[in-house]
Amino acid sequence: MLDALITILDEYKNQGLEYRLIERKKSRAESFYIKKSLEMNRGVDTDAIALTVYKVFEEDGKSFRGSADATIHPGMTREEIKNVIDEAFFAAGFVKNEMYPLEEKGAAPTGEFTSGIPALGVHKTMSKLREAVYAQDKHDKGNISYSEFFVDQSGIRIINSNGVDVRYTAYSVDIELSVHWRDGGEVENFEAYKLADCDTALIGGRVEKLFNIASQKPLAVPTPSVNDVNVLLTGECLNEFFNYYYENSNASSIYTKISTFAVGDELQGECAGDRFTLELDPFLPGSTGSRPYDNNGTPLKKVCVVKDGRLMQLWGDLRFSSYLNAPVTGNIENRVITGGSTPVSEMKTAPYLELISFSDFQMNSMTGDFAGEIRFGFYYDGTETVPVTGGSVSGNIKKVHGDMLLSAERARYNNYDGPATVLVKNVSIAGK
């Protein structure tokens, strides 16, 4: 299919058509369980090509590069493919975007992403992960109520009309499960994990923690209305929390004026707390965001975006970086946050509200507002610590990052590698 498509695309060369195509050959195994019993197995084998065609045109003496996307599905006839290309090429002529270059055949990637999945194979990986999950299902009062396992292997090839032709294999594991605990009533604790390796220790540890929280949930009291205590954010919400800096240092956000960040800015302003460092690492072990090339075929390498709270450089793809004359980093999904030195135990010497899990913690990168319903946490009033549930936390990052503290302890959640806990002040708690 790929060769036939390239042959057809080459026929448009004399009309000025340029292209990029991404071929994805995906193979996935899925298993679904209720308690410990298998409910269903599924298999998936798909193959498709995402095509982008480009047309350079002039208007009032200025050059523009228009583009339009299309999908080439297996079994399409030559006539169907030509129709798709004609339609996209025509549309691209009206997409008036400032001129930018296409990626050129260039350097090899600077690193390598390794995963244990290819050695084991998709089915063996699933079997080992399932064992790791259910090894924790050993409690009288609690059990796994259901689980879902997805192990995905995708062969990816990126080709463009400028000579780029690169390929790599991507792996992805998704696990979703809930734990029930009966102590008086019955409560649920739900989590979803994403990773790119057969890391049974990591998954086993997280399920163990899930049971641990579930066992304490029946004891939880409604979150009190306290607005003058330190709030300790923990868990996956931190990836969302730091997303504010990631999104706003992206070349696309700055070009479209959605972000007001500029290189050299002290992002935390006058800072009495910890100044953070943000690096983007395309080869972060175990992350589904790890890859040697972005979708343009740009080879990726580790970059430091924010150093001690100062914006050192933007990150972004070839198009938006070239608009801003910024170095082209390519699109990198993995974030590594450093800069914390305070042990969590020290953060807990004064009254605090430690938030362990949320329904759906959200950071609005445009406004800096963040909020989430509290599913579980601990409140320490200076004398005793009690588990809490319900209510919400809300605030604005611009009002908290001047004195936030990052823990010395670290945690990793798929494409996040950073402090395990962040202490923030000046947030609002809607409790009882």
Partner: protein, 475 residues
């Protein structure tokens, strides 16, 4: 204009039927769902524009077979002429391996189908392909320019229009179903800034429409920009419990998160739904009647049959405050001994079918909106929803809203508070509903965006209702 059939599915149908025939020699139940969803998303911003693929795009098949008391599924998108034989071999081999994989399995009954051969073609005023890309982009640019003429603090005005031509066929030994319809959605995001304060307002339109949706979008431009500018003066919400009036958009998300997810019957099978203990019991005030179904409304999630070949229905979930029943996919209904409601939906042919909502709504009541507002001593009117999260086992709820308008002594003060997070215990929130507005005061569904199950499996849904008065915890 009648929505045409997919040429791809029409050409593949004989081979699909041959595949079903080959598999029937090996399995007691066989079905194949074929999908072809195509379209484009057009976007115009101040400094860029794009023509891109739509999130709903898919073209492929999923075969379901019954063996050893369980169902196995295989998703694929390559069915060359004469390819049914090889494919049948793959499916037989995989299904047999699957059945041998685990000693401990959940056994499901065999699906018993009634014969049906139905073909459905939706209608829209303007078919997406009848307008050239140049004109679509020009219409969106005109909205962008109109907005800029109205406002001098606009940082970016994002206008999008997405059309999806949905074609699906479902073939089993007794069923030959086909449906073709178009879903469109269009939206404006106005981003405004004053000093360091950035705010935005989002407005959308959606439904079983074609490009006539662009006229509707144009009419919303001025309101969207005006609302965004007002947000620049919004105050932060003081956390607390308040009397609130929720508009159709907010009511939709409350209904969806509060009791839509809570009555998805695959959650009953997994013991994940508290609702199962409350069937036939009060869960809301007597003013609340709630529906869900492909036939509950004509909107973005209306279809003839779901992704398991079950015809869509209209389910009354809550009637006068009493929980009646849940909604179901085919396998969950079989397991529970219920009649399936036609809510078995897949993110795409490549994903599993789960019980999913379609069009979820609270029915209008008899109260006048003006009376509802004047009944508040101190509270808020909440109209624009952003997102929500379900908690079917423990009945918590989280809803995010763009803003809330302050009401003091029965009058809107003009003060705006943003952003707003609403949390609470579902039965408490619904039991506190004391007034429900009349249809003529505003009864609307919205179907832009999508709904996930947990954090994945996105499908198109719509939700809405009238205005309701309740008590809620805001932050």
């Amino acid at each position: 204009m009648k929505v045409p059939v997919s040429d791809f599915l029409a050409s593949q149908k004989p081979e699909i039927k041959r595949l079903v025939g080959l598999l029937e020699n090996q399995f007691a139940y066989v079905s194949v769902l074929g999908t072809d969803v195509s379209g484009k998303s057009f976007t115009v911003r101040d400094k860029s524009s794009s023509v891109s693929n739509i999130p709903l795009e898919e073209r492929g098949f999923v075969a379901r077979v019954y063996t050893n008391g369980m169902y196995y599924e295989y998703s694929f998108n390559n069915l060359p002429p004469g390819g049914a034989d090889k494919l049948a071999e793959t499916i037989v081999e995989n299904a047999k391996k699957s059945a041998e994989m685990a000693a401990d399995i959940i056994r499901y009954p065999l699906i018993e189908e009634e014969s049906a051969t139905i073909s459905y073609h939706g209608e829209v005023a303007i078919l997406p392909n009848s307008m050239a890309s140049a004109e679509k982009l020009a219409r969106l640019r005109a909205i962008n320019e109109k907005a800029h003429n109205l406002c001098d603090v606009l940082v970016d005005l994002i206008v999008t229009c997405t059309t999806a031509a949905v074609s699906k066929v479902f073939i089993s030994s007794k069923k030959d179903l086909e449906q073709n319809y178009i879903i469109s959605e269009a939206a404006i995001v106005a981003v405004v800034r004053r000093d360091d304060n950035t705010r935005y307002f989002y407005t959308s339109c959606s439904g079983l429409k074609g490009l006539e949706i662009l006229d509707e979008l144009e009419s919303k431009t001025a309101g969207c920009v005006e609302n965004a500018v007002k947000l620049l003066d919004a105050k932060p919400m003081q956390a607390g419990e308040y009397d609130v009036i929720c508009g159709p958009d907010a009511v939709g998300i409350i209904a969806h998160e509060a009791f839509g997810h809570g009555v998805e019957m695959d959650m009953f099978v997994k013991n994940r739904a508290k609702a199962v203990e409350y069937l036939g019991k009060p869960v809301a005030s007597k003013h609340v009647t709630m529906h869900d179904g492909a036939k509950s409304a004509s909107h973005a999630a209306s279809y003839l049959f779901d992704d398991e070949g079950t015809l869509g229905t209209d389910t009354v979930i809550i009637k006068d405050g009493i929980l009646q029943t849940g909604i179901s996919d085919l396998l969950s209904a079989l397991k529970l001994g219920e009649t399936p409601t036609g809510n078995g939906r897949r993110e795409s042919f490549a994903r599993k079918a789960y019980t999913r909502m379609s069009n979820t709504l609270i029915r209008p009541g008899n109260d006048k909106l003006d009376d509802m507002i004047s009944s508040l001593k101190h509270g808020f009117l909440i109209e624009s929803a952003e997102s929500g999260m379900e908690d079917p086992k423990d009945w918590g709820i989280q809803c995010m809203f763009t803003s809330a308008r302050e009401i003091i002594d029965g009058k809107l003060t003009g003060n705006l508070y943003a952003p707003v997070i609403m949390t609470g215990y579902v039965p408490e929130l619904l039991s506190n509903i004391t007034m429900v507005s009349r249809e003529e005061d505003g009864f609307e569904l919205t179907g832009a965006g999508g709904c996930g199950k947990g954090y994945k499996e996105w499908v198109k849904v719509s939700c809405g209702g009238p205005y309701i008065k309740t008590k809620a915890r805001l932050g």
